[in-house]
Symmetry: C2
Subunit: 342 residues, 2 copies
């Protein structure tokens, strides 16, 4: 008695592994989850592979049917066919945990996935950072997408952006619309290098790299679509984007990855250097009053408050604020106006 | 005439997809690369699947044999069987590019991989950051491993650490030895939460989460091994580590992910708050001399030099230095000692 999650793989039933097919054939009952991704397959084709009827899980999928699946797996060997790789979705991990808790043996048979197939672009799989999903407009803003892009760019990593879908309504967010969503924030540069991928893993994929502006008007054909925002590129990755994704060399040459910390370091260093060159002393020696020092301390306190306020989501700003406060305190000390020990 | 890279998949020939098997059967010549990862399969088993002889690529593998493969693919359909997912290794992307350049049609058939199978730990695949390899001692230090861990921790991401191997000499870096390498740096806390995985994707995997110290003495059995350093954990991931990786709850409770920027913000904020509470004014008004101001400006300049020096690999330190310099300059200005505009 066992519950086996079988990956169908990235595109069609032909992407299933021999082990997966074997598990489906040997199971006493086979279910298929058809609502997590768009596949180029049918229940009939899956049933033919499994050598038996395949029961489609209804729209609520795993989340609603988990109990039923686990109950069945207490009495017989149950296989659940899942599009892509079986454990890429959180709901499937939940199902595994629930099954464990009920004492049901589980097995997972992995398969091909968008998470590995993105290498068709020529980008190194090692250098991908956190993955994010661009939601439909009615599902909310894309703030977290921009935040993830910024975080990944901080260390030069690539970002896979999955696009929202609603299988029940047969709606799939397309690359054009997804890019428009990024543009609407007015914080995403139109000349950013992006890679659009459509129907990855199929016989007729489309892989195209160009500026976001150009891709927002490019016809990628049928879904599923996804986007990749490259980070820092190795020269081999640059060559690959030209050869495998038809990227104009000029767009690659103009591609620049700068994290928020990099940006702040560059900006403040430039500012401070300029000030050091241009500043003039007032008449010295000069007298500093108690009120002036008090004002400086209040000023410092405000920056510390800022540091704490921004420490959650704008860490670079927070660090800047507190280090600035340190500078002021040290200045007061080194000028002999106040006494303290760090 | 075509060159097809066929993924064997994570563990054995049974992880190959139906499409992969079909491609191997239809090819005029089939090669297998046996030197990139340890697989639980044999040439005979692969040949049986392919329905024809399978030619092992010699030790230099793709890098040395690429020319021969491409030459063959100009005259016949060539399939190359590759362990894991076919494009996870850079050398395979190079081969694709070389083939393109020679006008040879290419195809890639993806498969299961360590990059997706790490979800067997219950960690979300979305939250993995950059991947890194822990090298054998003779291949160099583990500095870049620690740097990648720090970068991924900055935003709470998980880190997959692959372990070095030398197939020709049948040597595989094991989890115990890999952890010792991290300890030797004296910068990797012994009570860090780690997950060790062995033979992932096989029928008898070992998945164990605990402190690094405990895992350094845990018997994981046969290779291949890999390590995962978790970032911030969702409660579902915590439950999964307990249920799927036998992690002691106390180790999870003690798990704390703090990036370098977080650490500096916390440290400096605490320091500044303390100073603000304890500092005493000297006798005021007080006189500030030209020499004192000159000294302050030199002090500032040194911090700017530091900022530039550290801006490459210690970005948090660099940002701290420059923001500190800003604080000093602003203090001089606000005290009326110097004049400048930002």
């Amino acid at each position: 008695m066992k519950l086996t999650l079988v990956s169908i793989g990235i595109n069609s039933h032909l992407d299933m592994s021999l082990r997966g097919v074997e598990a489906a054939r040997n199971a006493d009952r086979v279910y298929a989850e058809m609502y997590t991704m768009k596949m180029d397959t049918t229940l009939t084709e899956l049933a033919e592979l499994a050598g038996q009827q395949v029961i489609p899980l209804p729209r609520g999928g795993m989340e609603e049917q988990g109990g039923e699946l686990i109950k069945a797996a207490k009495e017989m060997d149950v296989a659940v066919l899942v599009g892509g790789d079986a454990l890429s979705a959180t709901t499937h991990i939940s199902l595994l945990l629930d099954a464990k808790e009920e004492g049901v043996e589980t097995e997972v048979i992995h398969g091909s996935s968008i998470f590995t197939s993105i290498t068709d672009t020529g980008l190194s799989i090692y250098k991908f950072g956190k993955t994010v999903t661009i939601p439909f407009p009615e599902k909310g803003p894309v703030d977290s997408v921009l935040r993830t892009l910024g975080e990944n760019h901080e260390y030069g990593n690539h970002t896979l952006m999955l696009l929202d879908l609603n299988m029940a309504e047969d709606r799939y967010l397309g690359i054009n619309e997804a890019i428009e969503r990024l543009f609407e924030t007015e914080k995403f540069p139109r000349d950013s290098l992006l890679i659009g991928v459509a129907r990855l893993g199929s016989m007729f994929p489309t892989i195209k790299a160009d500026t976001a502006e150009a891709l927002s008007r490019y016809d990628f054909g049928d879904s599923p679509h996804a986007l990749i925002a490259p980070g820092r590129l190795h020269f081999l990755e640059e060559d690959a984007l030209v050869a495998l994704a038809g990227c104009p060399r000029s767009v690659i040459d103009a591609h620049k990855v700068q994290g928020e910390v990099d940006r702040l370091i560059a900006k403040y260093t430039k500012g401070c250097r300029k000030v050091l060159k241009e500043l003039r002393n007032n008449e010295l020696p000069a007298s500093v009053t108690e009120d002036q020092v008090k004002e400086m301390l209040e000023h410092t306190e405000r920056y510390l408050d800022d540091a704490e306020y921004y420490s959650g989501e704008q860490k670079a700003v927070a660090l800047t604020s507190v280090a600035y406060a340190e500078g002021i305190l040290d200045a007061l000390k080194l000028l002999g106006l106040v006494e303290f020990e760090w």
